[in-house]
Amino acid sequence: MIHSPSTIWRQSKNIPDEVGKNGKIVSFTRIFAAPKGFEQQVPYYTGIIKFEDGTAKPLEIIDANENSIKIGAKVKTVIRRIGLSEPEELIRYGPKARLLK
């Protein structure tokens, strides 16, 4: 999928508010069959995070493993690359939920 410059530009404006937030895992799954642009990450965790400010968002969960990941685990959002962009496309940056140990 091609993410246009204007789409990325519009979405990036939200990033400062999305990074560095504390939250908990509401539920999660480990994905083995990925959509286009995410095949190279397989297998990976993703789930729904509820933040301290009461909002909830779906986010990839990183730095997790079978033993550490569970419903209720604490996470903090960090900035990472999202998916794999084509060579001539822009790089997409966005928040992911890092499991805190």
Binding site: R30, I31, A56
Partner: protein, 378 residues
């Protein structure tokens, strides 16, 4: 005046590489027209249900494509509500007839999926989800897996409970000559199949399927011996899971079904046979609870008890469901109505539920953002 199902037409569901979209549409529509004895020229409007044609093959404008095949000039509409496209299309047609503006409607769901790679189809299906879900690298199995994990945590539902759904639906599918999969499977086979999105394995997931299903709905004054629509109800909820009040139920299903029971003047106990939306095994467990067939949280035990088998008290997915019959997205909601129609008319052959008088179809879009419920009676 009542709205009756006066004609049905369905194709085989499966990997149909030698059949194009138009071939499938023509086959299903043709059969419906023949069975109904309503000539094409008497069809007042066409409602075409489809999700992925524009995305995968570049073909939109499907309403007109169907009328072209039938060689008529009636108004035509294309309806997209992800996997609930069929049920929603039927709901619109039902309302149009009830309003008195039309007498006969053709509602046809068509989907061609197997011409494309799994990754392309998976990505296309995520169009039914929210943008931030796509950015979180989620897939459809992933969304239902998230609901499954939460349900397992809260209600102690197990992977075996979920596997029981697939086993039962394959058993029913083995009795359906149009089903994509007609083989029997075991709980072990489901548990041992490759993980797709934990806790869901390959056999917890409905397949990628080609197929078409069509019905003709007509305004009738004398409804004796005819299958009529007692209720048609659609409800929606937040597109993204994260924004819902609860991720262990589908609120849209609860609202639409409660409205439908009220419209039809029945309660859930009166439903003799049901076709529910088992895009993933957990979805059928949630449906049992959300439709009120069992208490909240008991869905797993309910299915495992065998009560939803043909011959037991609450036969569900006699067609084989989405899991075994297959899930050509736009066609599923219509297929469900056809299956219930056949059950109520006593034409379900080896799958027959004895004495079925009231049936229910449950068609869901996305991870539960749209739910379409139909109650049919004879």
């Amino acid at each position: 005046m009542k709205v009756a199902v006066t004609g049905t037409g369905i194709t085989k569901f499966g990997e149909l590489w030698d059949k194009s979209f138009a071939n499938l549409a023509e086959e299903a529509a043709g059969r419906a027209v023949v069975e109904s004895t309503v000539e094409p020229q008497k069809i007042d409007a066409v409602f075409c249900a489809n999700m992925l044609s524009g995305n995968l093959s570049g073909q939109n404008h499907l309403g007109a494509l169907i009328t072209s095949i039938l060689n008529i000039n009636s108004p035509a509409y294309t309806i997209e509500a992800a996997c609930a496209s069929g049920g929603v299309a039927a709901n619109l047609a039902y309302q149009a007839i009830l309003s008195g503006s039309i007498k006969n409607a053709l509602i046809i769901g068509v989907e061609k999926m197997t011409d494309y790679s799994t990754a392309e189809v998976a990505t296309g299906l995520m169009g039914a989800a929210a943008e931030d879900e796509r950015d979180a690298a989620l897939t459809f199995p992933g969304l239902y897996a998230i609901m499954a994990n939460a349900h397992m945590e809260k209600y102690k539902t197990t992977k075996k409970h979920m596997a029981a759904v697939a086993v039962k639906n394959h058993r029913h599918g083995s009795l359906n000559e149009n089903a994509q999969y007609q083989n029997l499977i075991t709980i072990e086979k489901v548990l041992e199949s490759a993980p797709v999105a934990t806790p869901l394995n390959l056999f917890d997931c409905s397949p990628i399927t080609d197929g078409a299903a069509a019905i003709i709905l007509s305004a009738v004054e004398d409804s004796s011996k005819k299958v009529t629509i007692a209720a048609s109800s659609v409800a929606t909820d937040k597109v993204g899971l994260a924004k819902r009040k609860s991720i262990t139920e589908l609120l849209a299903t609860k609202i639409a079904s409660q409205n439908a029971y009220q419209m039809a003047g029945i309660s859930e106990g009166d439903v003799d046979v049901a076709e529910v939306h088992d895009c993933f095994t957990i979805a059928e467990i949630l449906a049992m609870e959300d439709l009120g067939f069992c208490k909240k949280g008991d869905g797993g035990k309910f299915v495992s008890s065998g009560i939803t088998e043909i011959g037991a008290k609450k036969p569900t997915n006699t067609s084989g469901g989405l899991k075994a019959c297959g899930h050509p997205v736009g066609a599923t909601g219509i297929k469900q109505i056809i299956e219930i129609t056949k059950q109520l008319k006593g034409e379900a052959g080896k799958r027959q539920v004895k004495g079925a008088k009231i049936g229910l179809t449950h068609n869901v879009g996305g991870s539960g953002a749209t739910a379409a419920i139909h109650i049919l009676r004879i």
